[in-house]
């Protein structure tokens, strides 16, 4: 480790009998945690969702608010001091790339932490250039931060943390929302930084393989809010394998024989339910992201739509789903799909679209319209005027099938990430559409939700559902990529 003159000293973390209870909960989220992290150690923090990993990480960053957010017991010290009193000793990177960009220009955003720490101006700009260089973000200092990709935004956040010269790097699922290229970029940037400065690292992540060979220690939190395991990566990952798998953690090679497999046998091509010729797509009339596309969705087949960020995958999916108007060309439905309706899907009424093409959005919260899980599932049957008996039958079936029955009365907005995803799929399945369009269905999902979703989708496709999924997920493609469409970014932006 080249500890250059400008490198900050690596920080130590001491956690003694520490616990945390959220203000709105009776039971503590974390209890009796004892942990000593030596300067320069690299720790991967694992555990099932809801085990309090982020809570512990945020406490190390000193961003756990006052008494109104919850109460802490025991002691948690960074370099022997309360974390909030030594701001700048730690740098935190969060999961969501969009919500942690602070200022409109790249350089200003990196400078923000230094300004708050009272660093002199000349020194700030020296650090800004150094940090951008370290994370490999090769854009102008006045480049608009909103124009960065997800992976670049996460590296920007890392640069903003580095500019404070922290001895402790805290990463809270920094790659969960990124495509494979973004994951590689961020991981490479973190590795370069650690090699240069030898900083202490604590990273929370449920995809173990991203970080497994970079860390030298794995700490596992259990659902009871206590430490479950602590030790070298290979030892912990092999001894705790079963428990980790059961907790939804993505252990390398952990998909197992139960994961569904894509259809490899060469079937006779079936009749296409949706056909597009010479299609141009875009969110706004002057903003064409792809043109000249010829696409078919054959009945009873699962098609995966892949390609880098910004290639227009979601836009194409929403256009095929009859939600966005084609900017050129047509999306035509076969006679069996339109079943008596005239015109193309974009001209159909909302209610007529429901039984023909269902669309699950990337962000589940964008499609929730009621205040309970059960009501959410009833939306489609009610819109179809199915009657109480049929509605109840469909709702009960989906509640049981997607393990939503125990939270049937909960508000959709309060669910966990996995529950939200299952509900958003179930709510669309309630209409029994002939074609199902899914936008990034497995993004950020734990292993258990992943297995349930892919198994259900495989079964529905084998029973005759026509599926189109936008995805980056290699395991998902192996399970459901009967056919593939790959989009490459084009420069055909707008003829103004």
């Amino acid at each position: 480790m080249a500890n250059t003159a400008s490198s900050p000293t690596p920080a130590a973390v001491d956690v003694r009998g520490w616990g945390w209870r959220h203000a709105s909960r009776l039971r503590p989220a974390l209890e009796g945690i004892d942990l000593r992290i030596e300067p320069g150690e690299r720790v991967l923090l694992l555990g099932p969702s809801g085990a309090g990993k982020s809570t512990l990480l945020h406490a190390m960053a000193g961003v756990h608010g006052g008494d109104d957010e919850g109460e802490a017991v025991g002691e948690l010290l960074v370099d022997g001091a309360e974390p909030a009193r030594v701001r700048g000793r730690s740098g935190l990177v969060l999961q969501d790339p969009d919500s942690q960009v602070i200022l409109a220009r790249v350089g200003d955003d990196v400078a923000f932490g230094c300004e708050n720490l009272g660093v002199p101006r000349d020194e700030i700009w020296r650090r800004v250039r150094e940090s951008l260089d370290e994370v490999g973000l090769d854009v102008a200092i006045d480049h608009p931060s909103s124009a960065l990709s997800g992976g670049q935004k996460q590296r920007l956040a890392l640069a903003g943390a580095l500019a404070m010269r922290p001895g402790l790097l805290l990463l809270d699922e920094p790659t969960a929302n990124l495509d494979p290229d973004g994951v590689r970029e961020v991981r490479a940037a973190v590795e370069r930084v650690l090699d240069r400065h030898g900083s202490t690292l604590v990273v929370v992540e449920h995809r173990v393989e991203v970080w497994a060979d970079l860390v030298d220690r794995v700490v596992v939190l259990g659902l009871d809010g206590r430490l479950m395991a602590d030790g070298p990566p290979d030892v912990v990952l092999s001894r705790q394998r079963a428990a980790l798998l059961a907790a939804g953690v993505w252990v390398p090679g952990g998909l197992g024989p139960t994961a569904p497999r894509r259809r490899v046998a060469v079937d006779e091509p079936t009749e296409p339910l949706l056909t597009a010729n010479g299609l141009a797509v875009g969110r706004r009339p002057r903003d064409i992201v792809q043109r000249g596309l010829d696409v078919e969705l054959p009945r009873g087949t699962s098609t995966v739509l892949t390609g880098p960020n910004g290639a227009g995958k979601s836009t194409l999916a929403l256009t095929l789903g009859g939600l966005l108007r084609p900017l050129d060309g047509r999306v035509e439905a076969s006679a069996s799909l339109s079943a008596g309706l005239r015109g193309d899907p974009i001209g159909w009424r909302s209610r007529d679209l429901l039984t023909r093409i269902g669309t699950v959005f990337q962000e589940p919260e964008h499609q929730f319209v009621t205040s309970s899980v059960r009501a959410e599932l009833e939306v489609a049957p009610r819109a179809l005027r199915l009657g109480d008996r049929e509605t109840a039958a469909r709702v009960e079936d989906l509640l049981a099938r997607l393990r939503l029955d125990r939270i049937a009365l909960a508000n959709p907005f309060t669910l966990s990430g996995g529950e939200k995803r299952r509900l958003s799929v179930a709510a669309v399945l309630a209409a029994r559409p002939s074609v199902l369009v899914l936008d990034e269905p497995t993004f950020g999902q734990d292993r258990i939700t992943w297995l349930e979703l892919t198994a259900l989708l495989r079964e529905l496709v084998d029973e005759g559902l026509t599926l189109l999924s936008v995805t980056h997920d290699a395991a998902y493609i192996a399970a459901l990529g009967d056919r593939g469409i790959r989009l490459e970014p084009t420069n055909t932006r707008a003829f103004a």
Binding site: H58, P144, G321, L323, S350, H366
Partner: protein
């Protein structure tokens, strides 16, 4: 966010005005327009408008640029004028009338005064703020005007989220159609979208607050500034010009005997 930011970047460069701190432009616009709102007469507004146009031309504003940037003002001014022409307080000779609408000597004069006034107040505001960047304005508010930095920077960072909210709103509108409830019930649909947007806004806002706090925002330590926001002689010149225009406009109206304060 991008609408504001890119608007500022695309805007044409101007001589002199670009060298002035955004907060000075704010002060100059207020100094210039406040007196014009005290009186309703055509002489003061026309005097101010003529001087403004000459000065903006000197700064590099061209007629095409004026139309492209200030078209809402150019449309609003005659609309305000026409309504005054038809419905303004009647006096003097009447030329035409239909039901409530009456065109008289008095209403013609009022129409001209209002049209010119909207232009005299609106054009400098648009042209001065054409190239103002939100970050620079925030820097000026905090460093030159010494407004609390916590408040100014919080508002600046929060305003960036508006672009995300617009995307949320579009996606939610599409999802309503996908869920079979896009045909009827506009009010109810709007309500569910507004609620969801509120939830998302609070969630994104608290994440942003956490990210800012983790970077030392809101601590008691004295803050430094990466970008210096200063004022110099050009700022004082702009203030002097704004003051001079205001004085000239009111003076001309008094000399011409048309000064007509709104309170009389």
């Amino acid at each position: 966010m991008s609408a504001v930011a890119s608007g500022a970047v695309d805007a044409p460069r101007l001589r002199f005005i670009d060298r002035v701190n955004p907060v000075t432009k704010l002060a100059a616009a207020m100094l210039l327009t406040a007196p014009l709102l005290l009186t309703v007469d055509w002489v003061s507004a026309a005097t101010a408008l003529v001087i403004e146009l000459v000065l903006f031309m000197a700064a590099g504003v061209r007629p095409r640029m004026l139309v492209r940037r200030a078209w809402p003002i150019l449309i609003a001014a005659p609309i305000a004028g026409i309504s005054m022409l038809l419905y303004g307080r009647p006096s003097g000779e009447e030329y035409w009338s239909f039901w409530l609408a009456r065109i008289t000597d008095g209403s013609i004069e009022l129409a001209i005064a209002v049209t010119v006034r909207v232009l005299a107040v609106g054009l400098p505001a648009v042209l001065l703020f054409m190239r103002v960047d939100p970050t620079e304005l925030a820097d000026g508010l905090a460093q030159v005007w010494r407004l609390p930095s916590r408040f100014v920077l919080g508002a600046l960072a929060g305003a960036r989220l508006v672009g995300l909210f617009i995307e949320d709103w579009h996606a939610m509108a599409l999802s309503r159609r996908a869920r079979g409830i896009g045909d009827t019930g506009v009010v109810r649909r709007f309500a569910t979208m507004a609620f969801a947007l509120l939830v998302l806004a609070i969630r994104r806002g608290s994440k942003l607050a956490t990210a800012m706090e983790a970077r030392g925002f809101g601590s008691d330590r004295p803050r430094t500034w990466a970008r210096a926001s200063t004022i110099g002689w050009s700022d004082w010149v702009l203030i002097a010009i704004a003051f001079a225009i205001a004085v000239a406009a009111i003076g001309a109206a008094i000399a011409a005997g048309t000064f007509h304060p709104v309170w009389s």
